[in-house]
Amino acid sequence: MTDVPAPAHAPFRLSMLVNDRRYRSLTFQVIVFILVMAAGWWLIDNTIRNLALMGKSFDFGFLWSRAGYDISQTPIPYTADDTHLRASVVGLLNTLIVAVLGCIAATVLGVIVGVSRLSKSWLFARLMTVFVEIFRNMPLLLWILIVYAIFTEIMPPPNAYRGDDPAASMIFFDHVALTNRYTSIPTLAMTNDPGSLDLGARITFNWATIAFVVALVGGWFIRRAILSHAQTMQDRTGDRPVTWWKNLAVMTVPSLVLIWVFGLHFEAPSLQGFNFTGGLNVSNSLVALWLALTLYTAAFIAEIVRAGILSVSRGQSEAAFALGLRPNRTMNLVILPQALRVIIPPLISQYLNLTKNSSLAIAVGYMDLRGTLGGTTLNQTGRELEAIVLMMLTYLVLSLIISSGMNVFNARVKLKER
């Protein structure tokens, strides 16, 4: 065994930049950096020259000028005299409304369909498979257009509900009226309105809403305290105090009291003259967009849920039964935690997809962020560059917020591994 002499330290040669692994990656990165910088400089230079040629400038001042157009659905007060900025915010809120409603409904429907596909009832499982395949394999735009056409072409006009023997009748025990212009749904009303909290910029929150939020959040914290107290008692004495009625009480009683105090009740829409009043008239563009997004995304969520449940091997539930766990404990403690680990990450991307797909609102004229900032504002001011850049950045921030929020949730349900 002879010592291998250490290789003589080779002096640096220029070819080592390419041939030596120690330097090659550095060379490569420097070249890429130069190329990217050159491309960026080229694009910016072109943009500056083009703007100069067109006599335009790059500034966002137009956001503070008068918008001058109406928006059909305004979650915060808005008139045509407000600024483009406020119009854009209204659009963003409309995007959020349809996205949140869509995510909730799609999750509910998707879970039902996904579980049903695993049902032992052959017929029902096949029907759900057909549902999933049909909705997954056709473009979302098709579904939006179909649902919108159903609402505008097949639904009766509001005046069809008139008269002693009307041609159309309301559904859900006379609470919902489907018409070809809007869907009239019951609205919440209060007999003792406590007034509103003014946040400035004409944005207000009703005190009742705030009271309910406080009641629910407070109840949730008290419930956690009760549960942790029960756990301590169980650890100390071996007996777990009965908690279910306490939990039920702290979660419901404050809300019930508030409902009684404010005199909260549903107000069903009723026909006055040619239109429904009293309820909330939701434009059909929102309903159609929401329904189509829900059905389309639910088909994907159903597949995710099914795959998640199938990914938990049978041995897991058998082992849980062997330990003597009851079926619902098995579900909560063994199956769901493992299935959720598989379900959550793709579910996040479905929520993101739904939010981004809500920009298809353009097909039904729903005034979302693209309809206001990227639509009417863009056309009126002629500031394509600024409007589109701002719109893309807003969507990007929205996506990043959703994905980071859901990633936090994912980190909590994830099985802790080594």
Binding site: Q29, F33, N46, S121, L127, N137, M138, P139, I388
Partner: protein, 484 residues
Amino acid sequence: MSDTHAQTVPFVRDTMLPSAAPPIRESGAVRWMRENLFSGPVNTILTLLGLLIVWFLIATFWDWFAHSVWNASSLNECREIITATWGDTARGACFAVIRERWNQYLFGFYPRELYWRPTMTFGLLMVALAPVLFSASLTIRRVVLAITAVVTLWAMVVLGAPVVWLAFAVLVLAGGGYLSERNITWLLPFSALYPLLGVWLLWGGSLWGPIFVLVGPALGWVAWRLLSRVSGLLATVAAILVTLVFWMVLAGDATGDAERMLSLSIESVRSDRFGGFLLSLTIGVAGIALSLPLGIVLALARQSDMFLIKSLSVIFIEFIRGVPLITLLFVASLLLNYFLPPGTSFDIILRVIIMVTIFAAAYMAEVIRGGLAALPKGQYEAADALGLDYWKAQRLIVLPQALKISIPGIVSTFIGMFKDTTLVTFVGLYDPLKSMSDAVRANIEWKGIYWEPFIFVGGIFFLICFGMSRYSMYLERRLQRDHR
């Protein structure tokens, strides 16, 4: 009991009774129904609910389909026929609109006498795809090529293709069939040349254009051969430079000169004549073909050790995935003339293809990154231990396995992208779903027709997307190497 034997027992059965038929509850259809439809209270309720749904669907739509009219020239005529045949209150489908306007849904405003050209292009596409998609099974290849040949030639004859081009199609199809029987890999050069051929057939113009596009890489190869003995790197750089310089400086003039000397052109068709499924398929196929390699490169870059490369690809992927496709299409239609040198403008379909490609590539990169991450670390280490360099390790060890794992994700990205081609309607192109239906409805004869076009277009989308997902299942089974 040891003395108990046959002689002492009063009766011993020496023949078996014939086995009785199982009870009716335990055999045949009844058993199947008991097990699969009515196995418990919940399942019984679900089955009844399912029956209710089926009954409701049939009750609602059966009459409408049963009363469909295929021969009429306007919606009013349809309604008159329905009323005359099935009575005043009858409602029926008017599929006559498909019969009258199928050409617009399939070809858009492509010149009617040239319909055979897109038809032939997509027929030859199947030949070009055969060595890529169906390389494993001769039987499937035979079926696919036979169906393609029959359908393409029949459609070309019906659409009035010139005899020369019919002969060309016969030649290519027969050649494809012959090579597929002998050795399918010999068909790969045709697959490589196909993009140029397809573009030329669809848009028309001079054949010299694609020829001179090909001359660029050929000159580059010559430069590489000459210099490769001096230095590998120098040769590669020179080859790329020669190709680019030829394309940018010489190819345009050369095409014009050659065209003047010997005219080899077919009638050219402008991009705004494209529409319907011709547009969707053009964008979809181009996007699929381009986004896979780009996605692989992005995924590898994201897994790279080099900080700058990794961050650039993360920024690119997250940015593209964070914005809706519509906004990217708006960038293509409204903003590209800000970013390019003043006075340049290029084809809107090409712009849309670029945007759709980078959009799909970002998603593809994430799918492939999942496959790369799922690969055991031992595979990378084994490749290193064998002394393979980076590209060889990726090409021979890592990517074949990673891509195999990610097939379902890759194909669903393709499907998503193909469905998203309908969004081009919002930048003024004639997609089959919205713009084309609106255009048809704009005629007084077909004003107010909604459901029939939706069913027709949706059905075609369903066939293509469902076919792709089935193909991915087949591919997964075929590439399965482990033993279960």
